[in-house]
Symmetry: C2
Subunit: 457 residues, 2 copies
């Protein structure tokens, strides 16, 4: 059953490839399906959206005008003020996700804004309410229709920007740390990808338990910025098993592994009795040449299936956590809603705080994606539809911090995308890659975009 993920209705409802088609007003049940594809005879209002035109590199990511959507039964229409950029967006761009929708479609799976219309059957939201939403796609637009089960009301003291910066990471971190792994006081945690958004959310949440020892693995370049969050920091690519044994000879209680592939067996061996290994996502193989990251991961892991008897012998636990899959089922979404309420409490009480790296206009998404790909961000990359795009032609994306970005605006280097497209060497050479890519700039995308916009409008 796990080998083939069933197609989700939401994904099947993606737009057909033709965009120029013009039709009469749609019957209601078909409107969603073609909402962005078929302007009515009297052209509908338009919005800006970040569209993926084909799976692949950054040049397939274009900001285009699209018809405004209208909410179907069970949906709310949200006017978006801020969006979150997540690693899964980079994977979606490459089609490296299970059951990807057909292109073109609007990217983005996290946004915050205000409810502007409520579809039939929705009782828990009203117009004017501020919400954060975790739709499977379509979040990066001025307007988005979201199933009500994927929207969460925001308390007064949480801003939209904070919500877009923290909702997905904090929710995932909360659920995996407290509901899957059951962290309790005095425990030790080994955390891979410690410097990413979810890693930092985990670190903050783990501190709500007394006397927890946090060992983070992150690229050396991030150590200085994140060192206050961890008791020990190890360098990405190091022999972390020996390093952890030096710190904690008996091993650790939890290993939180974002699908690093090479690390699974080594990580498992570090578990204390009663220890838990949680596989919670992916971040290492976005540059793979295969379209299906999961097929790679699966074939790798098949060698290392786990015998439940081994778990029984050794008093160990193996768990998987995948927020995206969880949100697809009503029961899972319900569970996530209950968790989000607890997250919001922690949030209001400043137990967890968003860490924002930088904010970007929709038009600058390719550059923001490059920053994330190069692991140059510390904290969240936010998209803000109200921001003016940077002056063209091309602005390089070297560091991602605001100061450096202003310098980069002066540059005019162009490179094609080939380097980014090269195969991942089984996910373990990223540090090297980072160095190589230091000098790489995002592709010259503005000509393509202008052409596309012309075709759209």
């Amino acid at each position: 059953m796990p080998e083939k993920q069933e197609k989700q209705p939401e994904q099947e409802a993606q737009q057909p490839e033709t965009e120029a088609k013009v039709e009469e007003e749609q019957p209601k049940e078909e409107a969603k399906k073609e909402e962005e594809a078929a302007p009515a005879a009297e052209p509908p209002k338009e919005m800006r959206a970040v569209v993926l035109t084909a799976f692949g590199g950054l040049k397939s990511v274009k900001t285009q005008k699209k018809p405004e959507p209208s909410p179907q039964e069970g949906e709310i229409l949200v006017s978006v003020s801020h969006c979150g950029l997540n690693f899964q967006d980079l994977m979606a761009r490459q089609g490296a996700i299970d059951a990807p929708p057909k292109t073109p479609f609007i990217l983005g799976s996290e946004c915050a804004g205000e409810v502007v219309q409520v579809g039939a059957g929705v009782e828990n939201f009203q117009v004017g309410q501020r919400v954060v939403c975790l739709p499977e796609f379509r979040a990066w637009a001025e307007l988005v229709c979201v199933p009500a089960r994927l929207a969460f009301a925001l308390p007064d003291d949480v801003t939209n920007e904070e919500a877009a910066a923290l909702a997905m990471n904090a929710l995932a971190a909360y659920m995996l740390l407290f509901q899957v792994a059951g962290l309790s006081e005095g425990q030790s945690v080994l955390l891979h990808s410690a410097g990413g958004g979810i890693g930092l959310a985990i670190a903050q949440l783990a501190r709500t338990k007394e006397n927890v020892t946090l060992i983070g693995v992150a690229s050396k370049s991030k150590h200085e910025a994140i060192k206050d969050h961890f008791d020990h920091l190890l360098e990405r690519g190091c022999d972390y098993v020996s390093e952890v044994r030096k710190i904690s000879p008996d091993g650790v209680d939890l290993v939180l592994d974002c699908l690093c592939l090479e690390d699974c067996n080594r990580g498992y061996s570090l578990l204390k009795p009663m220890g838990k290994y949680v596989l919670y996502g992916s971040s290492n193989v976005v540059t793979g040449e295969t379209k299906s990251f999961f097929s790679v991961a699966r074939s790798w892991w098949q060698v290392d299936k786990v015998s439940p008897i081994k778990l029984f012998d050794e008093n160990k636990t193996i768990a998987g956590f995948n927020l995206r899959h969880l949100l697809r089922t009503p029961a899972g979404a319900e569970r996530a809603r209950a968790a989000m309420e607890k997250v919001m409490e922690l949030w209001k009480n400043k137990v967890i705080k968003p860490i924002i790296d930088s904010s970007w206009a929709l038009e600058d998404v390719p550059e923001a994606m490059q920053v994330m790909h190069d692991r140059k961000n510390i904290g969240k990359l936010i998209l803000n539809p109200a921001l003016e795009p940077k002056p063209r032609p091309a602005t390089p994306a070297k560091k991602g911090s605001k100061e450096e970005k202003s310098k980069k605006k002066d540059k005019e280097e162009k490179k094609d995308e080939k380097k980014e497209e090269k195969p991942a060497e089984n996910g373990d050479s990223s540090d090297k890659k980072e160095e190589e890519e230091e000098k790489k700039e995002p592709e010259a995308k503005q000509e393509d975009e202008k052409a596309a916009e012309k075709a759209d409008s």
Copy 2:
């Protein structure tokens, strides 16, 4: 690594097979090794103990006189007032445990009593203190030496009998329910072997969380007695997957499975998203013809190893819990000690209460074992070294409840043990077996025992 369990020092320290050997006073470091094998020139004081003379049936279980042990470094000597009979004792009797000690050895892994001597290096116990102990073997005797890490001080308001009835089950239930599975309010639990000691402890502990739905699977004959502990009871051997779906169409949050073998895949399929499957012990295959239950279980389970990617796809957890293995390591024993403190609190506050089926003299252990084997007990079987053995010749063990036992004393049926020794048909025909064995009585053991006692003394 899991395929072969490493031998534990404790087990290697078992007695050599000869018992008649007579030697001078032992040097201290060898004394433990031969404590029961070598009476000194001046015969040491003796105690009664339940000895397994060879792996196999009930007739290998004999109450014999043995030299009193004396505590080594790190050990305490306990004067035993009550012992617990557990399913693992039946498995140990058949050698159906990993790395069994050589016969003869003293059986028993749970007892309560008073500290009468403290070995060097033990700081947390004093003479006169009441304790409950979970040694790997040797608990069923008037005196036992126990590593201090496996002993737990008893609060004033817990009797020795209660402790022997509850310690192991409550500790295992607490750890697997709250530390491994992380039960939280509102969740649903499917519990196999619901009528056993650990099953009832789990049921009581689960009620400390609000609004938990408990679905128990147990032999029909136990339903009446245990029905107050469960929201729903299913009959052992039924199509429990359909039955659970009727009760809870979405499935359950936890499946607690005591290694029922046939049930694993079906149980896993019942898990909700975020659901956890905990494999926590064994109770179904004690009558197997193989010496190594684990080799059977392993070969069965190898077909069903679990891909971590599947867990990730489905948001599920698989966990193993094995208290016996946990207690073997200092770190594991430390963790168990912390849990036992919480269990004692719940105990003192009457949140959990021991459920005692019946009490037995050491000499009547074979009969008590037969009661447990036939699943006739509801709650714990207690051994009490101070009790007079039942009048001989043989007393049948049909029901195990006190009233019925008094009737049984009048009977004089004898049967050999062949029926009990027959191979288990992969663990799924036990209900049928129960019926077949309704009429079976324990073997005529008293002649053997008298002969053995004569040889000993």
